[in-house]
Structure formats: C-alpha cells, structure tokens
Symmetry: C2
Subunit: 419 residues, 2 copies
C-alpha cells in the first residue's frame, strides 16, 4: 500500500517556504504510482500533534503552482521545539501515533536547525516504537545559519530585499542630505549571525557607495569607532547610510536593542536597534537622521524575491520526495555550490545529525578588518544568491495574486491531545 | 533667441519625481527648435540661489530615459521655503539674477504646496523687476495633499508599496499567529493626512481581510475602542494586522509617536508611532507583537512603483513643457480623473494661486464610521492609483539599474551668494 507524506512547516516563515511546499507536492503528484497523499500539519508540528492535518489533494493544481509565488506559510507554522526524547516522550509517541493512524511513511520537516533535530529524533523513535518512518529535513531559514548546505532557501530573497531597499533609501537620503537628513539607518534581522546585514553591502558597486557602515552581531559595538566612521562618511559623501543587525551587542554582551521580553524558545525578543543607533548618532554628532525597521516586511517580501532563491527552495522540496523514494531517512537535501563564476549549484544530501542544532556563523574573514563592511570573498559568496527576479503575477487592481488554499482537513480518528 | 528651462526639485523626494524630470527633459529635447537647454538646480532651490546649475544637455539620452525608473531626486532636493516677497526679497532678487544670467525663460518648480507658492511669487516678482519668466509648478508629493489635482504624482507608488507590504506581512503573521506573534503593526508616513495609511486597506479583498485596523491622523486615538477592535480581530481571525500613520494623535492633540516609550537603556525612543501602539497592545491585551517602520523605504521603493503613477509623473513633466510653449505662466499641470471604471485620466491645468499653501485633507466620508477603515468611495478613488507594475531593469547581479547622472555644472558668472 502506498504511504502518505506528512509535510510540516516550522519556525519563522520566509518569502519562499511555500515554493518548497510546492516542490514537495508537485513532485509527489508526479509520482502518484508510488506515493499516496501529501498531508500537511496545520500550523506545523502543533497541528500534527493535534491531528489537524490538511489534505493537499483537495487543492487545485493552479493553487499548488501558486504556492511558488506566495509568501508566508500556506499551511501555518509555529515555534514549538520538541526537547530530548526523555523529556518529550509523550509528544514523540503521539507523533508516531498520528503518523500511523494516517498511513504516513514519510515525514518532511521544513525548517532550521531545531527542526532538523526533531526530524532526526522522530526517525530514531519510530524505529524503537516499531513504526519506522522515513524522516527528511528540508532546509529553510532566512538567517542562513544551517551548516553543510551552501546557503539556506529563504535567505537569498531577504538578502535581495535588504540590498534593494538600502540602495533605494540611500538614493533618497543622498538627494536631500545637503540641507536635511544626513544619516539613514536600516535595521534588519539576524539575531546571531550577520548574513542578512552583510547582504546590504551588495548595493555597493563603486568605492564610496552606500551602505557606508554595517553593524554585525559578530562585532561588538564600538561607539567611538562607529561615530568616527559615520562622521567620515558624512564629510566625504555628504551622508551616511547604515545597516544594523537586530543582533548587535555592546561590549558588555547585551543586545543594543534588548527589549526584555522573551519568545517561546526563551530567546530575547528584539526590535529597535535602529532607534538606539539613531540616538547615538544624535548625541555624538548631532546629525539629522531617519531610521527604518523592516521587521516582517523583509521576510515576506515575495514581490522582490530572488529567482535563484525561488528555484532552490522549490528544488529542495522536490529533492525531499526523491530522497524518500530512494528509501532514505534521517537526511536533508542541501544546496551545493559547484562554481562561483558562472554560478552553478546542485542538490546534494547530508545526514540530519550533521545539521541538527548546529549554527553556521559568518566567517570572520567575510567582515572587513575595521568591522564595518564585507570582504571580496563575502561578496563572491553572497552575490549569486540574489540574482534574478521572480515576480508574482498581479491582478488588475495592482496587487500580487497570492493564493489562498482551501485547507480541507483530514477526518480525525484519534483521541484529543493537549499540546 | 531660445530660452532655457530651469528645473528644480523641492522637498521630500518620491519614487517617481525623476520620471517627471524625465518628462520635462525628453519633451524639451523634442522641441529643440523652440527651447534651449534644460538646466537643473543642484539640490533644488538652494543650488539655484548659489548658481549651482546642472547642464542636462551633457547627460546621455539613455540616462535621461533611465530617470523614469530611478528613485530619489537625481538633481538633489532640499527643504528651503522662500517666505513672502517682503521677507525674502534678497532671495527673490537673486533668483531673478540667476535666471537672467543663464538665459532662463521658464522656471519649473517640482514640489508640493510650498513650491507652488514660491513659483507663483517668482512669476510676480519677475514682472516687477522687468524680467518676466514663465513660472510653472509641477506637482509632486507622496502625501497626496495638493488641491485641484485629482491625485499627486508620487502618492500612487507609495500607496502600492504600503498595500503590497501589509498584504505580505499579514500572510506572515497569519501563518504563525496560533502560537506566536498575534499583532503586527506597520507605521507609514503622512503627518497631516491619512491618504497613505488609507492605501493599506487596498490589500483587502474579502470581509475580514487584513489590515484589520487603520489608525488615521484624522481620527483622535481612542485607546479603549482600539483595544476592543484588536481583541475582536484576534478572536475572529487569529491575528490582527494594523497600519498606523506617523501622524496619529491622542485625544490631547499630541502625536502618539511623542508619547515616548523608553528602551532598555532608558533612552526615550525617538519617532515611532508603531512601537508606542505595540506597547499599548502589550499593556492592554498582552498579545505578542511585531512592528515595522518603513520610513524612507516607502518613498524610495521604485522597485514596486505603480505604473499609473509613473505615467502620470512623466506626463506632468511633459505637460509643463507644453504649457511653457503655449506662453503660460503661474500655472500647474494637474491630473483630472475622467472616469472611475474604466479608470481614465487626462492632464489639465490650474492657476498656481489656487494650489499654493492649501492642503487637501482626506474627506471624512472616506473613513468608516468606526474610524478604523475606509469606505467604498475611498476605495473607488484609491484603487486605480496603484494599478500596473513598472519594474526597473535589473543588472546581472540582481540589482535595479538606477542611473547616476554626470551632473556637469554650468560655469558660474555671478558673485557668490550666501544661502
């Protein structure tokens, strides 16, 4: 009997996580002879635990195709981390029960390092409980912090958004700087690693081009050096354009933007490094400033997605199905860079145990010695990831045609479960 | 002898003010038999006073065409208001001197209400001083607050950016809301009028669609009604998506943005109605929130410009040249809506005296009775303005090809002048 795929989205969504879902579903549909249905957890793993499963076979072909250009998480996502098998045994057992009840042979978990860890553990416990399920991690994170894979689907589009946005805003500031705003600060995501902030530098083409300062989480904030740099930019170019990561910390190790609240994982909830940096500029130099915090806009801006990113996101979804058909478990499809110029990539695979709970930091060699810019090697790495445009279709009213799924639910057969 | 045009950009720039410059220069070049050069004030009127004039004839045809898709102010702009002729007589006389010295017969001032006023005064004083110059105001403002014209070039593109952005961010929040962020707040510009905030509502297609709350500068902020509305949205849809104008005021008349939350360091957070609204949500309802402040991004996002807006921006520039050739002075080309469905518009003209220093407020009838949304008449007015996409070309690295002008300066012939 053909087995079903259970697909779940995990953690923060990206402009292209649905392109991965599209890759999974379209490829599964092409292999109807060997694969049953693709079921999707509503709101991620929480829905799976609650036996809230969406039957994707009820969705129209055009809507599944439309996932390729629709941002957000079409089936819903959540931040819910399963801990060790000992601590979360109840959840793992329930998971296996749900998989069993719905004839699931393949569990695809689409997320970051935490999700790779969960998928790995599910593959372990399935065997122990006598219900072997093939578990495949599918990479996704705007933070680009997964190991092994050359880059993470989701990152390239955010990088393109940040590069285009700082390019455009810098043209704005430059036009007015002689009599008005001299310093513009754009805050971007990236709690622990400066990949997203680094992408701002892609806006530079010639010496002196904006952004003039990038503040990385990797480099402790040095007020004096920062102010000297801003002053120099204003005196040389008439204005200063700054990209600041939400994860920048002071010399004391505290986030510049620490808000004190914490999310479900116990991470400090950030937001507002830009206004703090603006205050420092005002106090130290007295320049007129403006600041922007792009927050969710950056990770949902499908309208300015990178074509490379969309293709890779689709490809890892399709590859997950192929790995499943090859009988693999405990693995993740990854992107392997074949060459830089011309940029070529292919899909490879890795063991989930190599990915789980490991963070890929940005190499120090990617940041210039002064700590405010990126090096040529960083540029060679980043540049291909934002290449190409992949516009969504628009309706006659001038808005992108993003799909809305029916989300027909599979009938529950198990008792309720408290999550 | 053929007279030159002097063109100057004024005030905050827009994603399409350069499309207007393109319309002026391309149309003037088509009329070489009757018009001399187009000169442009560097950094607007300040450059004119300083006799810093850019010779646009030195720019390549392709670069002038590229202005149509380049954001910012290509010749530079400034915030510098000439006061009454009595108070600013020295500046007006200098202006006339500069125009005379450079054989300028036509002064085009591309800006908002203040600029229309200045252009009007220059036309008056030119006559008095025996150097009649044809003065044409050319409309531009993202705030959409000029009278007479149906809408202002610049507004449509910002409106499109806001509608697309809140649509995308809402998909993001909706996917995560069951276990994470429930309230998303996007702050937009518009200090005195809610036109830009109202544009967020264009993201709505069906009942219950986001944004669920819009906070207008026209409606005094009512904490209790606001919290009730947010609560209802979260209970009904699982999340609440909010657009807040930077110009929202409390019942005491003070800007909400000045209400002053403090960050972890005890610094007052500067600017930012969004973080204040977020704090109110947290205090009143305890929901997890995220907020974004798009600031300059919204008014420089040429990558998501409205095609209608780009066409109108070009058309008012071209029309200014035609008015000049017809011998007109003290006038402004305006956009006249011919019909709503299908949307048709044409260029008309009005007297600058009818435009100068008058602000077009958003009619109260455009805001729903509860104060949190827009009415069908507002939708009919706004919808056509964001229609059509007008993407800039991209280079092979994945970035828009925005032009950089040479900005060759005209030789100075007058004594220095202190501005």
């Amino acid at each position: 009997m053909k087995k079903n795929i259970l697909y779940a989205q995990s953690g923060g969504v990206t402009p292209v996580i649905n392109a991965t879902a599209c890759g999974v579903i379209e490829t599964a549909r092409q292999n109807r002879d060997r694969i049953g249905k693709v079921l999707a957890g509503r709101d991620g793993i929480i829905g799976v635990l609650r036996e809230e499963l969406i039957d994707t076979t009820r969705e129209r072909k055009a809507d599944i195709a439309g996932l390729r250009h629709t941002p957000g998480g079409a089936f819903g996502s959540c931040r819910y981390k399963l801990r060790s098998i000992e601590e979360s045994r109840r959840e793992y057992e329930r998971l296996i029960e749900v998989l069993k009840a719905h004839n699931v042979g393949y569990f695809f978990y689409n997320g970051g390092g935490d999700s790779a860890d969960t998928a790995y553990k599910v593959s372990q416990i399935g065997k122990k409980l006598g219900f072997p399920v093939q578990c495949i991690g599918v990479p996704k994170t705007i933070d680009n912090d997964l190991p092994v894979t050359d880059n993470c689907p989701g990152f390239g589009s955010v990088a393109k958004y940040v590069a285009v946005s700082i390019l455009e805003a810098s043209l704005d500031v430059a036009s007015m700087a002689s009599s008005s705003t001299k310093v513009f600060i754009l805050e971007v995501m990236g709690r622990h690693a400066g990949w997203i902030a680094a992408a701002g530098a892609l806006a530079q083409r010639e010496d002196g081009d904006p952004p003039h300062v990038i503040l990385f989480p990797e480099i402790p904030f040095d007020r004096k050096a920062f102010l000297a740099r801003v002053k120099q930019a204003v005196e040389t170019h008439g204005y200063c354009s700054i990209v600041v990561s939400e994860g920048v910390r002071g010399p004391d190790g505290r986030f510049l933007a620490e808000a004190g609240t914490r999310d479900a994982f116990g991470h400090a909830q950030l937001g507002g490094a830009a206004p703090v940096v603006a205050e420092i500029v005002k106090d130290g130099l007295g320049y007129k400033y403006h600041w922007a915090v792009s927050d969710y806009l950056q990770r949902s801006a499908r309208h300015i997605a990178s074509e490379t990113d969309v293709e890779q996101a689709w490809a890892v979804g399709a590859a997950a199905v192929k790995l499943a058909l090859e009988g693999k478990s405990g693995v993740m499809p990854v992107i392997k860079r074949v060459s830089n110029d011309p940029y070529r990539w292919k899909i490879a695979e890795t063991r989930l145990s190599r990915v789980a709970n490991r963070e890929k930091k940005m190499p120090r060699s990617y940041i210039t010695k002064n700590g405010f810019g990126i090096t040529p090697s960083a540029r060679r790495y980043l540049e291909p990831l934002i290449r190409g445009e992949a516009y969504p279709p628009y309706d006659k009213h001038g808005l992108p045609k993003y799909v809305r799924l029916k989300k027909a639910m599979v009938k529950k057969v198990l008792p309720e479960f408290e999550v």
